[in-house]
């Protein structure tokens, strides 16, 4: 039996420790991992917990991230609670297996610490990995700090393993800015955390020999479409379950999470939409611009960006005149993901706000309050003009001549 770890009411943890502690408290059966910067301390901390007797489950060192997720898939299919962590190149190497996990409806939890994707090689935080995997059929949850990273890992098990969901869940946090920044975290005690997550419920376990099953069947044109449609339905149907889990989490902790987080949006004329730690910076910048310039700006963020909170984004942005979408990922020859998704959600709304796209923070470049103030000012000008006054896509915080498209 695993040792209980006495935790203080307030612990000082970085985001990796927050991931590792939540994983420990969930009493995982199998962690198969291949550590990679900046998520290395997640599995490093976890393996220390195991060596010190705080974990009963198996820790499997594998030969690659492809092997890590493959090991997780095998263990989840066998009938266990399973999780791992990764970043960047490792995430990219997992890509094929991410689709396998979701297609087989295995509730694996993956703690992602976001990092740029080479080339050029870079170990710092941007959302290239997150964007790469966003259509892999997983539930994706974004966090802004270690507290949220801890909270969302606990919620991830409960959401993914719910009998009406049975889908894998990724929790994201920004490399270094969140993963290596020690902050105050208020954890649950071990028994409370486990009581919240709950006992693992098996479904189609391969180790149940009375009911043998086949995983990974081949389906061609006569079956594949129906199976993928069913998977999409399951992902969409996870929305009320996510809401339920967030409500239950609030009852236990007082911390309220929403599929779309809004900040100072009640009277907002313009909005910034972002993901990750930038949400906190944008909130600070919004506060400053309200005080300094009287610009009614708010901040909106899709906490759960898969399944995409389409209606909730429409609702949150129903009354604004202009929106700045901020993408921390090289756009690869088009507009950023948030611009695309927001355009899709807002095109059929009555007010159809003016939309702009800012590419920023690649490879861990800081998004400063000054940059955000400029973005807010430009967005405000768009709102006042009722049309674009700047190019659709700009690069914020970039050296050299101004770069923009469309």
């Amino acid at each position: 039996m695993a040792e209980k770890m006495e935790l203080k009411e307030v612990e000082v943890w970085d985001g990796n420790m927050a991931y590792a502690q939540a994983m420990r408290q969930a009493q995982i059966d199998v962690v198969a991992a291949y550590p990679i910067t900046p998520s290395t301390p997640t599995v490093q901390n976890y393996s220390k917990f195991l060596a010190d007797g705080y974990v009963d489950g198996e820790f499997v060192m594998v030969e690659s991230e492809h092997g890590a997720m493959s090991g997780c898939i095998g263990a989840a299919a066998a009938g266990g609670r399973v999780a791992t962590a990764t970043s960047s190149q490792g995430y990219a190497l997992m890509m094929e297996t991410l689709y396998q996990a979701s297609g087989m409806r295995l509730p694996i939890v993956l703690g992602v610490v976001n990092r740029a994707i080479a080339a050029p090689l870079n170990v710092n935080g941007d959302h290239s990995d997150m964007y790469m995997g966003r259509d892999s059929g997983w539930i994706h949850v974004a966090t802004y700090n270690p507290q949220e990273a801890y909270d969302m890992i606990l919620c991830a098990f409960k959401i993914g393993e719910h009998m009406d969901v049975r889908l894998p869940v990724q929790v994201h946090q920004d490399g270094f800015i969140s993963s290596h920044t020690a902050q105050n975290v208020r954890p649950l005690q071990d028994e409370d955390a486990y009581d919240f997550v709950g006992e693992y419920q098996e479904k189609n376990a391969m180790l149940d020999f009375t009911k043998p099953v086949t995983y990974g069947a081949q389906t061609e044109e006569d079956w594949h479409f129906e199976h993928k449609a069913k998977q999409q339905k399951a992902l969409m149907d996870s929305r009320p379950v996510i809401d339920e889990v967030f409500e239950e989490f609030e009852k236990r902790t007082g911390r309220k999470y929403n599929r779309v987080e809004t900040y100072m949006m009640d009277d907002a004329d313009i909005a910034i939409v972002a993901l990750g730690t930038t949400v906190e910076s944008a909130r600070a910048a919004a506060q400053i611009m309200r005080e300094e310039k009287g610009i009614k700006v708010g901040v909106v963020s899709p906490r759960v960006f898969r399944p995409f909170p389409y209606e909730k984004m429409q609702e949150a942005l129903a009354n604004v005149k202009a929106v700045a979408t901020m993408d921390r990922s090289a756009p690869g020859g088009t507009v950023g993901m948030l611009f695309n998704e927001l355009s899709g959600a807002l095109i059929n709304t009555d007010k159809r706000p003016v939309l702009t796209n800012y590419i920023y923070g690649l490879g861990g470049r800081d998004m400063t309050i000054e940059n955000l103030k400029t973005i807010i000012e430009e967005t405000n000008a768009n709102a006042e003009a009722g049309k674009l006054t700047v190019p659709t896509q700009q690069f914020s915080g970039l050296r050299g001549p101004k770069l923009s498209f469309f």
Partner: protein
């Protein structure tokens, strides 16, 4: 199998082997197991075979080597007596022939379209030492 709609297919394409739970299925003979339609036991999955193994009862010593090595459980054996080949599942890989220790072999590969009786009539003679 009936082509049902998306709402009726199994979640995660996870396919049942049996239509009901079975205790100690390893001790139940295949013909007595309640195989589901989603198990290939009831299907023919051998259409791409171009060479087939033909079994010669007269030479076989029931050593069970072929039964052990067959990767598709297509050697039918009961009470350690070799019965024959399951041609609905055999892919024609030839492993059974390779591992057969008798002289001449009790299993030989023939063209898929060859008649089995014809094949048995062409069986080679026992090889002498050094041959």
């Amino acid at each position: 199998m009936q082509k049902v709609g998306w709402d009726e297919v199994s979640a995660g394409t996870i396919l049942d082997s049996f239509s009901q739970e079975v205790d100690n299925s390893a001790l139940v003979r295949p013909e007595d197991r309640p195989y589901a339609d989603t198990n290939s036991y009831t299907a023919s999955v051998a259409d791409w075979r171009v060479l087939k193994p033909v079994y010669n009862r007269d030479i076989c010593i029931d050593c069970q080597n072929c039964w052990v090595f067959c990767p598709d459980t297509s050697i039918i054996s009961r009470d350690k007596k070799m019965i024959g080949i399951d041609y609905d599942h055999c892919k024609g890989c030839g492993v059974c022939v390779e591992v057969c220790p008798t002289n001449p072999k009790s299993l030989l590969m023939f063209a898929e379209q060859d008649d089995n009786e014809e094949a048995l009539s062409q069986w080679p003679e026992k090889k002498k030492k050094g041959e």
